[in-house]
Amino acid sequence: MTDVSNDVREFASQEYQYGFSTDLDTDAVPKGLSEDVIRLISAKKHEPDWLLEWRLRAYRHWITLEEPHWQNVHYGPIDYQDIIYYAAPKPKPQLASLDEVDPELRTMFDKLGISLAEQERLSGVAVDAIVDSVSVATTFKRKLADVGVIFCSFSEAVQNHPELVRPYLGSVVPYRDNYFATLNSAVFTDGSFCFIPKGVHCPMELSTYFRINAADTGQFERTLIVAEEGAEVSYLEGCTAPMRDKNQLHAAVVELVALEGARIKYSTVQNWYPGDADGRGGIYNFVTKRGKCAGANSKISWTQVETGSAITWKYPGVILQGDNSVGEFYSVALTANHQQADTGTKMIHIGKNTHSTIVSKAISAGHGQNTYRGLVKTLRSAEGARNHTRCDSLLLGSDSGAHTFPYIEVKHPSAQVEHEASTSKISEDQLFYCRQRGISEEDAVSMIVNGFCREVFKELPMEFAVEAQRLLSVSLEGSVG
C-alpha cells in the first residue's frame, strides 16, 4: 500500500516533457478587449463586413453575460482585459514548399515528434500546422483538391469560400451559446476549415496541431467541418504547449455539420501544459465542441484523450436531428498533480431511431479531480431513440477525486436510455498478479491503466492510438514504481 502511495507521489510529480518555448517574432495587438480590438482583428484579417458584424454582435452579447461558475473546477478570476487577443507570427512571404517554413518552427515541431516533412512522406497525414493563431503551412492541399476536399485555415476559407463558411458558421454553436463560445465568436483569430463535398470519402486523415506559443496569448480557435451528403472524413487534433507560469486561457469552438448519410470522426489528443506539481500555471482549456447530424443516417463520433491542461472543461456533443442518425463519444481523461477536468458529452435526440453511445474513462492521480458530466436528452419527437452510457473512474491515491454527474431527460416512452458507472481504485489483485510474474509495479500500473482505456483507444486512428498510449505511459511514469 505504501509502495503504491510512493509510486503515486512520484507519478504525480512527473515533469512536463514538452515544456519549452520557441522564440518567434510575434505580431500582437495590445492587451484587452473592446470593439476597437475586434475591428482591428477583423481588419488585419481582411474580413468581409458580415463577419465583422457577426463578431460585434457576439461581443455586444458577451458583455451582457456573466462568467459561469457551476462547473466542478476551481480557478482564480480571469482578467479578460489582460489577454492579448491576437498574435500572429510576423507575416512571411507565401511559402511554396515546406523548405520555406521557419527553421525555428520546424525545430519546434521536430521536438514534438511531428516533423512536417516526415509526416508528408511517411504517415500520409495532411497537417495544417497552427502556431499561435495563424496557419503557417498546409500540406497535401493539392491531393485533397483533386477530390474536391477543401482543407485550409479558417481565414483562407473566409477569403476564398465565403459561400461555404457563412451558412454554417454558428449554425451548430450559435454566438449566443455560452460565455466562452460567445467570447470566441467575438475574437477568434483562426482555425481550420474543412469541407467534404457530396459523396466524397476523404482519402486521408486530416490533422491539425495546435500550439500556444506567445506568453499571455489566449487562443481562440474556430474549427468548422462540413460533410455533405454521403461524405466521410476523419479529423485529428493534437496539442502540446510550452511551459508558462501564468495561466493561459484557451476558449476554442469546434462545429461539425453532417448532412444526410455523412460521417465525421473527430479525434483529439490534448496534452497542454498542466501546471507544475503545486498546481501553478497551466492552461485553462474551456472549449465548446458540438456536432450536428443534420441529415438522416448521418454519424458523428468524438474521441478524446485528455491528459494535459490545468483545467479541462468541455462537453463535445451531438445534436441528433436527422432520423436514424448516430452519435458517439469516447473519452479518456487523466488528471494528475493538481489538474482538474470537468468533461463529458451532450447527446440531444431529436430525430426518430437516433442512437448514441458514450464511453468515458477517467483516471485521477495525486490531487487530480476528474468529473464526468453528461446530458442525454430525448425529445418527444425522438421515437425509438436509444442511448447507452458507460463511465468508469479509476483512482490512484487517496487525495484524488472522481465525480460522475449524468443528466438523463426522457420524453418519449419508446426511448431506451441506460447509464452505468463504476468507480474504484486500481485493483490490488491485478497489481499483485502482475508483480508476481516479475512485472515492475510501474509497468503493471501502466498496463492496467492502458487496459482500462482500451475501449476508447481502439476508436482512435492508428497514429493517435500510438501517441495516446505513449502519453498515458509518460504521464504514469514516476506515478508508479
Binding site: 491515491g397 487517496s398 465525480h403 426522457v410 420524453k411 426511448a415 431506451q416 474504484s424
Partner: protein, 459 residues
C-alpha cells in the same frame, strides 16, 4: 388559531418572497417555547429570508417548478378541530395497517389525541407528540433545531424550523426491540383557504435498539394544502431502524418532505417510500453515515400520472470508514406525469472502504410522460467501490406479445408487466402486513386509469 395576516400581494404574477410567505403564515417568534427554540427559529428565519426560495437554477431543484406552489396564498393551518373538521376515525382506520398498532395522528401538522392510539406501549419506547415534549422544555432537543445550515439546506426546511409546532416524538431505549411498527398518520384537511402544515418529527434509536416506523400522508379532497414535513432520525451504535413512507395526498395537494438520518457505528437504516399522490411532491432523503460500518438501504417507488410531479432527491454521505449504502428507486410514469430521480452519493476523504451503489429504473407508459434522472457520484478518496446505473424505457414488447399470444388481453398484460416492475421494491418490505397494505395500494393504482382514454402508446 385564527391568525390571518396580510394576504395582500401587489402583483398576481410575482412569486412571494420567503418573508412574505412567512408573514402570511403568521410567524410568532415569541411563543411559549423554550428560549433556544425561539433563537433557532429566528436564525432559520434570517437564513431563509436571505437565501430565498430555490429556483430551477439550483441543481437540486432543476426539474421542479415551484411556481404553482408559490402562487397559492397559503395560510397557517389550524388543527381543524371543531365543526369544520372532516376527519373521522373511520378514515384513519382505512389508512392504517393494523387497527391495534400504536399510532399518532396529526391533522394539518397538529396532534389529534382523540384519533391516536397510545395504549399498551411496549417497554423501552416513548411515543408522544413533539409539542408535549417542547412544553416540558424539550431537554436535549436543541441540536435538532439548531443544526448549522449547510450546502444542501433550502428555504423549505428552514421554514419548517420557523413554524413547526408539532409532530411525532419516538425515543427507543438501549437494547429495546420494538417489533410492531409504529404508525404516524399525517392528514391535511382544508375546507376554506389553502393551508400549509409544517410537521416535525424525531425518531431517536438508542444503542442496539430496533424499531419500525410507518409514515402515512393523506388528506381530504376539496381544498388546497401544502405539507412541508421534516423527520429527523438518529441511530446510535448498532441500532436498527426501518422507516416506511406512504404519500397518498389528494391530487390538488403539495407535498415537500425531508427525511434526515444520522447513523452511528454499525447501525442499519432502511427506508422504503411509495409516492402516489399530490400535484407536486418532493420527497427528499439525506443520510449521513457517521459511524464506522454503518449500513443504509434507501428505496422508493413513485407513480406519477395525470399532471403529477414526483421528485426524489437523495443524498448519501459516507463520512466514516467501511460503510455500505444502497439505493433502488423505480418510477412508473403515466399520462402527463413527470418523475425525477436526483440521487447523490458523496464519499468524503475519511471514508475508506466505502461500498456504495445506486440504481434508478423508470417505465414510461405514455407519450406525454417524462422522466429526468441524475444519479451522481462524488468521490474524494481512492479506496472505494461505487457503482450506479439508470435506465429509462417502455414495457418490453416481446413480453407483451408473449402474454397476448397466450390469450391475456392487452390491458391486462400491460398491467401485469407494470406490476411486475414494481414488485422488486415491494418485496423489500419486511413486515408482511405492511407489504400487503402497500401491494393493495400499488395494485389499485395500476389497475385504474384515471382518464381511461387510450393515451398510451398502443401496440
Amino acid at each position: 388559531m385564527t391568525t390571518v395576516t396580510s394576504t395582500a400581494r401587489t402583483s398576481a404574477t410575482a412569486a412571494p418572497t420567503v418573508a412574505e410567505l412567512l408573514s402570511r403564515l403568521g410567524f410568532r417568534p415569541s411563543g411559549p417555547s423554550p428560549a433556544w427554540l425561539t433563537q433557532a427559529r429566528h436564525a432559520s428565519l434570517g437564513w431563509a429570508t436571505a437565501r430565498g426560495f430555490p429556483t430551477l437554477k439550483d441543481e437540486d431543484w432543476k426539474y421542479t417548478r415551484l411556481g404553482p406552489l408559490l402562487d397559492v396564498p397559503f395560510e397557517r393551518a389550524g388543527d381543524g378541530d371543531g365543526a369544520g373538521r372532516r376527519v373521522s376515525p373511520a378514515m384513519i382506520d382505512a389508512l392504517t395497517i393494523d387497527a391495534a398498532s400504536t399510532r399518532l395522528v396529526f391533522v394539518n401538522g397538529l396532534f389529534a389525541a382523540e384519533l391516536s392510539l397510545l395504549t399498551d406501549l411496549p417497554e423501552g419506547v416513548t411515543v408522544t407528540n413533539l409539542a408535549s415534549v417542547l412544553a416540558e422544555g424539550g431537554a436535549g432537543l436543541e441540536p435538532f433545531f439548531s443544526r448549522p445550515f449547510g450546502e444542501y439546506d433550502h428555504a423549505f426546511t428552514a421554514i419548517n424550523t420557523v413554524l413547526a409546532e408539532d409532530g411525532a416524538f419516538i425515543q427507543v431505549a438501549a437494547d429495546a426491540l420494538i417489533t410492531a411498527p409504529i404508525e404516524l398518520v399525517f392528514l391535511s384537511d382544508a375546507h376554506g383557504p389553502p393551508v400549509m402544515a409544517n410537521p416535525r418529527s424525531l425518531i431517536l434509536a438508542g444503542p442496539r435498539s430496533r424499531v419500525a416506523v410507518v409514515e402515512t400522508y393523506a388528506g381530504t379532497s376539496g381544498g388546497v394544502t401544502c405539507t412541508n414535513a421534516v423527520t429527523q432520525v438518529v441511530l446510535d451504535e448498532g441500532a436498527r431502524v426501518e422507516h416506511y413512507k406512504i404519500q397518498d395526498e389528494p391530487d390538488a395537494a403539495f407535498h415537500l418532505a425531508l427525511l434526515d438520518v444520522r447513523q452511528g457505528p454499525g447501525s442499519r437504516f432502511s427506508s422504503g417510500s411509495v409516492a402516489l399522490g399530490s400535484k407536486i411532491a418532493r420527497n427528499e432523503v439525506r443520510v449521513r453515515l457517521e459511524g464506522e460500518g454503518a449500513e443504509a438501504g434507501i428505496d422508493g417507488l413513485y407513480l406519477p400520472r395525470g399532471d403529477q410531479h414526483h421528485d426524489n432527491p437523495i443524498l448519501i454521505e459516507h463520512a466514516a470508514p467501511r460503510c455500505t449504502s444502497r439505493q433502488l428507486y423505480k418510477g412508473i410514469v403515466d399520462e402527463r406525469g413527470h418523475g425525477v430521480f436526483n440521487g447523490r452519493i458523496i464519499v468524503w476523504p475519511d471514508a475508506p472502504g466505502t461500498d456504495a451503489s445506486q440504481t434508478n429504473k423508470n417505465l414510461l407508459l405514455s407519450d406525454h410522460a417524462e422522466v429526468d434522472t441524475r444519479p451522481r457520484l462524488e468521490i474524494l478518496t481512492d479506496d472505494v467501490k461505487c457503482a450506479h446505473g439508470a435506465a429509462v424505457g417502455a414495457l418490453d414488447e416481446e413480453a407483451l406479445f408473449y402474454l397476448r399470444s397466450r390469450g391475456v388481453p392487452y390491458e391486462a398484460a400491460r398491467a401485469l408487466l407494470t406490476y411486475a416492475f414494481a414488485r422488486e421494491l415491494l418485496d423489500l418490505i419486511e413486515s408482511e402486513s405492511l407489504r400487503t397494505h402497500v401491494e393493495t395500494l400499488v395494485a389499485g393504482r395500476l389497475s385504474t386509469d384515471s382518464d381511461g382514454t387510450g393515451a398510451h402508446s398502443g401496440d
